[in-house]
Subunit: 271 residues, 2 copies
């Protein structure tokens, strides 16, 4: 039986919510969502376990081939350790891969949540057919992923793509400058302008450095970005040096919605 005919669980652990899906044969069979409990690791893990168990019970408790898990944070991919999670500090130093393996007795693969988002959009969504793509997630934090020549780019220490940490305004980074604005956008025109400027500047920096074919925006605030996309693009254009890149680069919103991250986590088994 090919990998994609088997049951795979995909988990996307973000700063505000955890999405999980039961995936088989290229389709989402079931999905579940819980808020991310940030106060105690024990409580966090109890809820996560229950979420996954529910999906397994939906198969009639059949054998699960593997669990793919995306986590917001810097990871040691080999060991499975969460080194540092900006927006979920209770997981710092926790080996999520080992824990999932012990709990569910199947192969486990992990990756950064923004890479999972990009992987999903690349395989199943808006990025199909392209080979050089950037994914940027706007949620509790700002994350990123880079695909070069059709392959996820990890860098020398598995840390490539930390786009949210890019300083764009003196000592302030894109994440700090963007995330806090998202909630204010409905009420404040100044916030909208700032958001457009900050995101546009961040995207221009990425385009000047990586020169991708496409940037796909995802995460909880992707819808908000969509409403302001024309102006974000205008701001970006101002700072892109290459006229060719300016003309050719596509800046779009992801197609897969809130389950993209979990889908990309299952797709770790396709690599």
């Amino acid at each position: 039986m090919a990998v994609n005919k088997k049951y795979i669980i995909g988990i996307d652990i973000g700063g505000s919510k955890i999405n999980a899906i039961l995936f088989s044969n290229g389709k989402i069979l079931k999905s579940g969502k819980i808020p991310t409990l940030k106060k105690s690791r024990k409580e966090f893990l109890e809820k996560l376990e229950a979420l996954v168990k529910k999906l397994i019970s939906d198969t009639g408790n059949k054998k699960i081939f593997g669990i793919g898990c995306g986590v917001a944070g810097t990871l040691d991919l080999k060991s499975g350790m969460i080194l540092k999670s900006h927006n979920l500090k209770i997981l710092d130093g926790f080996n999520i891969k080992n824990w999932l393996y012990k709990k569910f007795n199947c192969e486990v693969k992990i990756d950064n949540d923004a890479r999972c988002f990009l992987r999903a959009e690349y395989i199943f969504g808006a990025g199909r057919g392209y080979k050089n793509l950037i994914g940027i997630t706007l949620g509790t934090g700002v994350g990123g992923g880079i695909i070069i020549n059709g392959k996820m780019f990890y860098g020398a220490n598995d840390s490539a793509g930390e786009l949210g940490q890019m300083v764009i305004d003196r000592e302030k980074d894109l994440e700090t400058l963007t995330v806090k604005l998202v909630r204010k956008l409905k009420f404040s025109k100044i916030a909208v302008k700032e958001f457009e400027k900050n995101l546009g500047t961040g995207l221009a920096n990425i385009i000047n450095i990586i020169d991708p074919e496409m940037i796909i925006i995802g995460g909880g605030a992707a819808k908000t970005a969509k409403e302001n996309l024309a102006k974000v693009e205008m701001m970006a254009t101002k700072f892109i040096i290459s006229l060719k890149s300016r003309k050719n680069v596509k800046i779009i919103i992801g197609k897969l919605g809130e389950n993209a991250g979990a889908m990309g986590a299952t797709a770790l088994f396709l690599e």
Copy 2:
């Protein structure tokens, strides 16, 4: 006769000076240098022609196998057109590849000057043995190059690596914020602090995005950067999110000196 046994001319056209070398069998046989004349394209080309002719005459007017030419600016690599040169506007829209071919009747290859610097350091200098490197040149402008998995990375529009255009302070980019300080460093402690902060911030952004093994600094102001490297690194460290990258990344000054760019231009014939 293998390529490296033949005579190759390497040219490095920067914002302030043009370096050219006669290269054969892995060695610089002769070199020449002239200031970059920025007022008229005609005069610029006359001086460039004379510089190259002098090197050819040094061979006893033997057959030249090829000319490699690095140019500060965005280029159309296929046609050989200089699309936009920030610091040498008289060359905007000029096809340097065709011109060299017609003048000297040999194969011509061109690339961005910062990529030439990085290519030279990667093959002959400080980057030997590494596979994921960034080159950053501090000169009249700030340029950059990226090597991923041992290959120069060009991006979707040949524009990857424009590190100088990275906005790090509101609407001001690394080039604007750094280059103007270089001349002041000897006289002003405030300028030194600003330089360290700006360069450190730029390097941190690059490390957070690309996560390279090594960053090699070159260009006319590389010596200045060397004197302040410890503090530049400290500033960078502050903004690098991955502890592993922070520990592992090497930030060093190039080994090849002022002919690095011209050497990297000749190395276009080794690819």
